[in-house]
Structures are given as structure tokens and as C-alpha cells.
């Protein structure tokens, strides 16, 4: 039984196509919305998208993208971040980010918050994201 489970987990159908690297959250005071960043690496032969995220530490998590349109900075909600086969997609300051809202408890730099990344292939990855100071460069 254990051997079967191990074989299933090791089979391509169960192997995670995506890995989440260099996760971090930029802390902001007073329970303000915070941004979460990471690099998504797709090691598989098929395109995969990040389609959602949730966290026990926040009431609401959305995928956002900051855009510079004619010198105007704006944020838009996005439904998915595509990660092409054997490629990567960055959630990074000034671009895609997780918008972490309504913290359920006081969050401080040095803590880790837990975020579940949800992908288009049905897989999920739980990531412990380190919380860095507001003025962290990365």
C-alpha cells in the first residue's frame, strides 16, 4: 500500500510541474494590504498558470498586476499568470503580485505567512512566505 502510494506520487501525473522560489512578503504597518512575491518555475512540458491563492493568515488574497500606462500607475486584477513550459514567471515589485488583504492577526517582519498557490492543472503548493520590512529591496 505504501509502495503504491509512493509510486503514484513519483509518477508524472502527480509530480508538481511548478516550483515556487524566493517567496517573500513586503510588510506594511497597521494591517494595510501587503504584496507577496515569488518566482514560479515550470519544469514540465505543458503550460501551467497560477489561477488563485489563499491564506489562513489573510481574509482575502487576489492576484494583481501593476501597470504603467502613459505615466499613470495603476493596479488591475488578473485571473491567471501563465508560466510557459520550461520557463518561469516572476511576481516582483512593479508587476505581478499577490495582494494580501485583511490580515487575521498581527503580522510583523521576521514572521512567515502561509499561502496556498493554486494552479491550472489542479495542483496546489503551500508556501511559507518570509515577511520582510517595508523598505526591503528583495
Amino acid at each position: 500500500m505504501l509502495a503504491l502510494a509512493a509510486a503514484l506520487l513519483a509518477s508524472p501525473a502527480f509530480a508538481a510541474a511548478i516550483t515556487v522560489q524566493k517567496p517573500w512578503v513586503r510588510w506594511l504597518p497597521a494591517g494595510l494590504p501587503a504584496a507577496g512575491y515569488a518566482t514560479l518555475v515550470n519544469g514540465s512540458d505543458t503550460p501551467v498558470s497560477l489561477v488563485g491563492a489563499r491564506s489562513p493568515d489573510y481574509g482575502s488574497v487576489m492576484i494583481h498586476r501593476s501597470l504603467d500606462r502613459g505615466g499613470m500607475e495603476r493596479m488591475v486584477m488578473v485571473n491567471a499568470i501563465p508560466v510557459p513550459p520550461h520557463s518561469r514567471a516572476a511576481l516582483a515589485p512593479g508587476g505581478y503580485h499577490l495582494m494580501l488583504m485583511q490580515p487575521r492577526h498581527a503580522i510583523r517582519p521576521g514572521m512567515r505567512v502561509s499561502v496556498r498557490f493554486e494552479f491550472s492543472d489542479g495542483s496546489t503548493i503551500d508556501v511559507a512566505m518570509p515577511v520582510r520590512p517595508a523598505n526591503a529591496s528583495g
Binding site: R26, W27, L28, P29, A30, L32, P33, A34, A35, G59, S60, H64, S66, D68, G71, M72, E73, R74, M75, M77, P93, G94, H97, M99, L100, M101, Q102, P133, A134, N135, A136, S137
Partner: protein, 196 residues
């Protein structure tokens, strides 16, 4: 007219000299004479009513944003924090003014917590919608509140320029997100009369 004459002279010198391109004094956009002096009446992050004269004697970097902005505003404020670190002792002769384009949510107390999370050389400013609009219009800064999102929040699209004033409140330079910190540091040092 004077400028045209000067440019012609420079061109002649350039051709005669056959030398390398003339050194530009500024790495950022020179706006001297194109934008009015710094003037406003607003409330600072300690709740005090202040006007632009409170900052005379310091080089001012003016930036518009809001606290419920978790991505771009923190990126710019982090760049300005790095700038202050690079300026060392000169940082005390400068002041960053972070003007809220979201006065409905940005109380002085919230602004105080927000700007101090980035750098002690930043002052948060808020005010009535009319006071903020007056300052934004003066420097042709646009902003507009987006639709209410699920959960009740909203975003405020806003111009991302950093307006730099000398210690007499005269508009001198304009920086954008695309300008490297080294370029801003260079020009700030020159404006302060220090070695670049």
C-alpha cells in the same frame, strides 16, 4: 532665445574641438523655469497644518501616492530610502514629501506609520480633497479613484513622477520610476553643492 544662442555656441565648440560629447550637468529631466515654486497648505503626519515654507532650507523630493498601495508606492519609497542611505550625512539636508492622493483613508496617523516604515527622512502629507487637488494641479499630477472592489477597497491610479525642488523651493528636476537611484543621487548631490 538665449538657449538657442548657447546651443549654437556649444555646437560650434563641439565641431571645432572635435572632442567627446559635452558633459550634461543633469542626469534627470531639467524642469527649471517650467514648473512653479513649491507651494501648498496641507496637514503633516503628526497632524500639524504646514505650508511649503516649513521645508525651505531643504532639498525636497515630492511624490504622490497612498498607503493602500502595496506594490508601486513601496517600491518607490524603498528606492528613496536607498537614496537617503547613499547620501549619508547629506540626507539631513533633504526631505521626501509623500502626498496622499487618497485623503479619505489616509489619516495623519496612518501616513505616519506608513512613511516611517520606509525612512525617517519622509514626511507624509494629507489634507482636504481641494488642498491636494490644488498641489497636484500645480505640477500636472493626475490621479483617479478606481471602482470599489469586492471587500470595499479601491485603488487610486496616479502619476509616478518625483519632483525635486532646491532649498529655496524652486522646481529643478523631474525623476521617474525608470531613473536609476545613482542618477537621482548624482543630481541631488550637485543641487546641494556637493561633489557628485
Amino acid at each position: 532665445m538665449k538657449r538657442a544662442v548657447l546651443l549654437t555656441m556649444l555646437a560650434v565648440l563641439f565641431v571645432l574641438g572635435g572632442c567627446s560629447a559635452p558633459q550634461h550637468r543633469w542626469k534627470l529631466t531639467d524642469v527649471r523655469g517650467h514648473l512653479p515654486d513649491l507651494a501648498f497648505t496641507l496637514t503633516d503626519d503628526t497632524g500639524r497644518v504646514v505650508d511649503a515654507h516649513a521645508f525651505r532650507g531643504k532639498l525636497v523630493l515630492l511624490y504622490f501616492g497612498y498607503t493602500h498601495c502595496p506594490d508601486v508606492c513601496p517600491l518607490t519609497l524603498t528606492h528613496l530610502h536607498v537614496l537617503m542611505q547613499r547620501l549619508g550625512p547629506l540626507a539631513d539636508r533633504t526631505r521626501v514629501l509623500f502626498v496622499s492622493v487618497d485623503p479619505a483613508r489616509d489619516t495623519p496617523a496612518l501616513l505616519h506609520a506608513y512613511v516611517n516604515a520606509f525612512d525617517p527622512h519622509i514626511t507624509g502629507l494629507t489634507g482636504t480633497p481641494a488642498q491636494i487637488e490644488a498641489l497636484a494641479k500645480r505640477y500636472r499630477v493626475a490621479y483617479n479613484r478606481g471602482p470599489t472592489l469586492p471587500g470595499g477597497g479601491y485603488e487610486v491610479a496616479h502619476s509616478a513622477g518625483i519632483y525635486i525642488f532646491d532649498d529655496r523651493g524652486r522646481a529643478r528636476l523631474l525623476a521617474t520610476d525608470a531613473d536609476p537611484i545613482s542618477a537621482i543621487a548624482h543630481d541631488v548631490r550637485v543641487l546641494l553643492g556637493a561633489a557628485p
